[in-house]
C-alpha cells in the first residue's frame, strides 16, 4: 500500500532527455536481492557514479546540492521505457521521488508508478522547459502544476487518481468483486473450456 498523495511542493530536478529507460534508472546489476528494498543506492548508478568506488559524477543532476534528495523529476518523452522491472519505481520511491513530470511515459512504468504512490504527470515540452529546476507545486486533486505565476493542468485517468489520492491497496479493492469474478469464470468456463487447465498438466 502506498502513501497517499495530495499536494507536493519541491524543486523539479531537471533530467531533460528523452527515452530515459529503466536500465538507466536501475541497472540490472544493481538488483542484488530478491526483495523490493535496498535499491536507492543503485538509482541511476550508470550516470550518478564515475567508477566502481561510486565516486559521484558532479555533472549528474542528483549530485548537485540543490537537487540531492529530489522529490520531483522533470524529463522528456517516453520516460521509463524498456524493462518492466518495478525495481525502477521502488528505487525512485526509496530515494524519495513522489512525482515525475514528463512529456510521456512508457505504459508499464506508468502502471508501476500508480501502484507505488508516484504521480506520473504528462506536460508538454514548453511547460517542462519552463519549470525544470524551479520550485513547483503539484496538486493532484486539482490536477494542476504551479510554478511562480504559471499554472498548467494535466490529465490523469480517474482510476489512477483515486488510487494515488487514497493510497489504496488494489488487490483488496478488486477482491470486493469476488462474486463478479466467480460469475465470469463460471460463464467463461462453459464458453472457453480450454482456457481452464488442470493442475500439473505438464
Amino acid at each position: 500500500m502506498a502513501e497517499p498523495f495530495t499536494t507536493l511542493t519541491a524543486i523539479a530536478a531537471p533530467l531533460l532527455r528523452d527515452n530515459v529507460d529503466t536500465d538507466a534508472i536501475i541497472p540490472s546489476r544493481e538488483m542484488k536481492s530478491t526483495g523490493k528494498t535496498g535499491l536507492s543506492d543503485g538509482l541511476f548508478a550508470g550516470w550518478r557514479y564515475l567508477d566502481a568506488a561510486r565516486t559521484p559524477n558532479p555533472d549528474f543532476v542528483l549530485n548537485q546540492p540543490e537537487h540531492a534528495g529530489a522529490r520531483i523529476l522533470a524529463s522528456g518523452v517516453n520516460f521509463g521505457c524498456g524493462s518492466s522491472r518495478e525495481h525502477a519505481v521502488w528505487a525512485l520511491a526509496e530515494y524519495g521521488v513522489r512525482c515525475i513530470l514528463a512529456q510521456s511515459f512508457a505504459p508499464i512504468f506508468h502502471g508501476n508508478c500508480i501502484r507505488n504512490g508516484i504521480v506520473p504527470v504528462v506536460l508538454d515540452r514548453e511547460a517542462i522547459a519552463a519549470l525544470a529546476g524551479r520550485e513547483v507545486q503539484v496538486d493532484l486533486p486539482a490536477q494542476t502544476v504551479r510554478c511562480a505565476d504559471q499554472c498548467w493542468t494535466f490529465a490523469i485517468e480517474a482510476e489512477a487518481k483515486t488510487m494515488l489520492l487514497e493510497g489504496l491497496d488494489a488487490i483488496d479493492l478488486s477482491l470486493k468483486h469476488r462474486d463478479a469474478i466467480a460469475a465470469f469464470h463460471a460463464r467463461d468456463r462453459a464458453q472457453r473450456p480450454w482456457v481452464y487447465l488442470e493442475q500439473n498438466h505438464g
Binding site: 528523452d18 527515452n19 529507460d21 536500465d23 538507466a24 541497472p27 540490472s28 546489476r29 538488483m31 542484488k32 536481492s33 530478491t34 526483495g35 523490493k36 550508470g46 518523452v77 517516453n78 521505457c81 524498456g82 524493462s83 518492466s84 522491472r85 518495478e86 519505481v89 510521456s104 511515459f105 512508457a106 505504459p107 508499464i108 502502471g111 508501476n112 501502484r115 507505488n116 485517468e157 480517474a158 482510476e159 489512477a160 487518481k161 483515486t162 488494489a170 488487490i171 479493492l173 478488486s174 477482491l175 468483486h177 463478479a180 469474478i181 465470469f184 469464470h185 467463461d188 472457453r192 473450456p193 480450454w194 482456457v195 481452464y196 487447465l197 493442475q199 500439473n200 498438466h201 505438464g202
Partner: protein, 458 residues
C-alpha cells in the same frame, strides 16, 4: 466496426470500474526467477493465495547461466538466491515450474508458444516487458510489474484503463534478405520509440500475413520498444497449423470448438482504429542501430544521420555522417526472445556454413529454448556454429542484458540480435548495435558491421 483488440477486451470484462476502467480477466500468468520470488513471497506474506495455480507458470530464464554443465550457481553475484527462492515459492504455490535442467526450460516467450500455453483469444501477462511477443498468436499479451503480477495471481484479474488502438499496416512484399526485425526497427526509426505509447498495435497487411509464425513473434516482440501497450496479429491458418497438437493447446473436439471461435478473431473490414500507420514493406532494407535507443536505427547501407544526437554519438564513439558498414566489432551475439528461434538460427547458420568468424571476434549463440537447442542439434546447426567459431550455449536470456556477471569487455562493441541498445545494457559501457541474426552472422564473419546480402552463399 469492431477491432480485434475490441473483441479481446470485451470478452474479458469482468466488471466495470469507476472512471471508465474495468476489471479484466487474466487467463495466463508467467513468472521468471528475476522477479518471481518477490511477487510470490509478497503474496504469501500478505496472507493471499494464488487463485488458480494451474494457469500460472514459472520459467527459469533471466539470470540462469547458459554455459554447458550449468547448475543453480550463477556468474551473476548472488544470482543463485533468485533461482532457489523462486523455485521454493513456485513449489509452495503449486504452480508449474520449468526449472534449470527441465527439457521445457527456455526463454518464457519462446517456451510459452512452443507448448501452447498462449493461445489465440487469451489474455496473458508476465512481469517482463517482452510479453508482447505472444500477441503474435492473437492473444492480448503484455508486460506488467511485480505488483500487477501479484494482483493477477490473487484475483484472476487486472484493473485497467482501456488502451487506445492502432493499426500498423505493412503493404507490399519484403525484399530478399529483409526480415521481421528490420520491419520493426524501420517502424520505430520512422515513428519514434514512444510512437506507440498507450496503444495496442495490431500489425496487418500483406507483408505481415506473409510472415511465418516465428517471424511474427519477432515483430510483436519489439512492440514494447515502440512503447505500445501490446502488439497483436490476427490469428490465421498459419497460426492454427502451428499450434495444433502442442501440449497445452486444446485437443480433439475441444480443438474444433476453439478453432471455430478463433476464426472470428480479426478486425472487421470497416474497423476504426484510434491511429493508423502505413509502411511500404518493399522499401525496407536490413536495419542496424547506431545509437542508444532502438529509434536510432538506419538501413545498414546508410550513413549515421547528420543530425544524430551528440550524447548518443559520444557514448557509441561514432561520428555523424560516417558509414556504419565497416565499423569494427569486438563481439557478435545471437540470442534473446527477439531472434533465437529455430528459423533464426537456420538463417544465421546458412551464412556461417563453411566459414569462420573474423580473427579476435567473440561470437556466441544462445538458443531461445532447450527445445530449440535440441531441434537445432538434430539438424546439425550446432556444428555449423561451432565450426564457424561461435560458442554454442544452453538456453536463457543470457547476455541480452548485464546483471553483474557475464559480460562483453568494458566498452566493447557488440552486434546483437537482441532488442535493446541502451547504455551499458550488455555490460559496462558496451556499445550495442541491434540487428537481424543474418546481419549479426555476416558481421561476425567480416569482423565489422556488414550487409548480410553481400555474404549470401551463391
Amino acid at each position: 466496426m469492431t477491432t480485434l483488440f475490441d473483441r479481446l477486451w470485451d470478452a474479458h470484462v469482468v466488471a466495470p470500474l469507476d472512471g471508465g476502467a474495468a476489471l479484466i480477466a487474466i487467463d495466463r500468468v508467467l513468472l521468471h526467477e528475476r522477479t518471481g520470488a518477490a511477487a510470490l513471497n509478497a503474496l504469501s506474506e500478505a496472507g493471499r493465495k494464488v487463485q488458480d495455480p494451474a494457469r500460472v507458470f514459472a520459467i527459469m530464464d533471466h539470470i540462469v547461466d547458459t554455459l554447458p554443465g550449468r547448475t543453480d550457481r550463477t556468474l551473476m553475484p548472488g544470482g543463485q538466491a533468485f533461482i532457489t527462492e523462486t523455485r521454493a515459492a513456485a513449489q509452495a504455490a503449486g504452480i508449474t515450474l520449468f526449472d534449470v535442467g527441465h527439457p521445457d526450460q527456455g526463454i518464457m516467450h519462446v517456451v510459452s508458444p512452443e507448448l501452447g500455453i498462449v493461445l489465440p483469444g487469451l489474455t496473458l501477462i508476465a512481469p517482463d516487458s517482452h510479453t508482447c511477443t505472444q500477441g503474435a498468436l492473437g492473444a492480448l499479451a503484455w508486460g506488467i510489474g511485480s505488483s500487477e503480477a501479484e494482483h493477477a495471481m490473487a484475483t484472476g484479474t487486472l484493473r485497467l484503463t482501456r488502451p487506445k488502438s492502432m493499426r500498423a499496416t505493412f503493404s507490399g512484399q519484403l525484399a530478399p534478405g529483409v526480415t521481421a526485425k528490420d520491419m520493426m526497427l524501420a517502424l520505430i526509426a520512422a515513428h519514434g520509440a514512444g510512437g506507440g505509447a498507450g496503444h495496442v498495435v495490431e500489425f496487418a497487411g500483406e507483408a505481415v500475413t506473409a510472415l511465418d509464425l516465428e517471424a511474427r513473434m519477432t515483430l510483436c516482440n519489439m512492440a514494447t520498444e515502440f512503447s505500445a501497450f501490446a502488439g497483436l496479429i490476427a490469428p490465421d491458418e498459419v497460426t492454427f497449423a502451428w499450434l495444433k497438437g502442442r501440449r497445452y493447446a486444446p485437443q480433439g473436439a475441444s480443438w474444433d470448438a476453439a478453432l471455430a471461435q478463433w476464426r472470428a478473431l480479426r478486425s472487421d473490414a470497416d474497423a476504426v482504429f484510434d491511429a493508423e500507420i502505413a509502411i511500404d514493406a518493399s522499401t525496407i532494407a536490413p536495419m542496424v542501430s547506431w545509437g542508444t535507443s532502438p529509434q536510432a536505427s538506419v538501413p545498414v547501407t546508410d550513413a549515421i544521420p547528420a543530425d544524430a544526437s551528440s550524447a548518443m554519438l559520444d557514448y557509441m564513439a561514432l561520428q555523424a555522417g560516417a558509414p556504419l558498414i565497416g565499423t569494427p566489432v569486438d563481439a557478435a551475439f545471437i540470442g534473446s526472445c527477439t531472434n533465437a528461434r529455430l528459423s533464426d538460427l537456420r538463417r544465421a547458420a546458412a551464412l556461417l556454413k563453411g566459414r569462420k568468424v573474423a580473427a579476435g571476434i567473440r561470437a556466441i549463440c544462445v538458443p531461445g529454448s532447450s527445445a530449440v537447442r535440441r531441434a537445432a542439434e538434430a539438424e546439425g546447426l550446432d556444428r555449423v556454429f561451432l565450426d564457424a567459431g561461435f560458442e554454442w550455449r544452453e538456453s536463457g536470456c543470457s547476455m541480452c542484458f548485464f546483471a553483474g556477471g557475464e559480460s562483453f569487455g568494458d566498452g566493447s562493441r557488440v552486434i546483437s540480435s537482441t532488442n535493446r541498445n541502451f547504455e551499458s545494457r550488455q555490460g559496462l559501457r558496451v556499445k550495442t548495435h541491434i540487428a537481424s541474426p543474418e546481419t549479426v552472422a555476416a558481421s561476425a564473419l567480416a569482423g565489422a558491421i556488414a550487409d548480410a546480402r553481400d555474404w549470401a552463399h551463391g
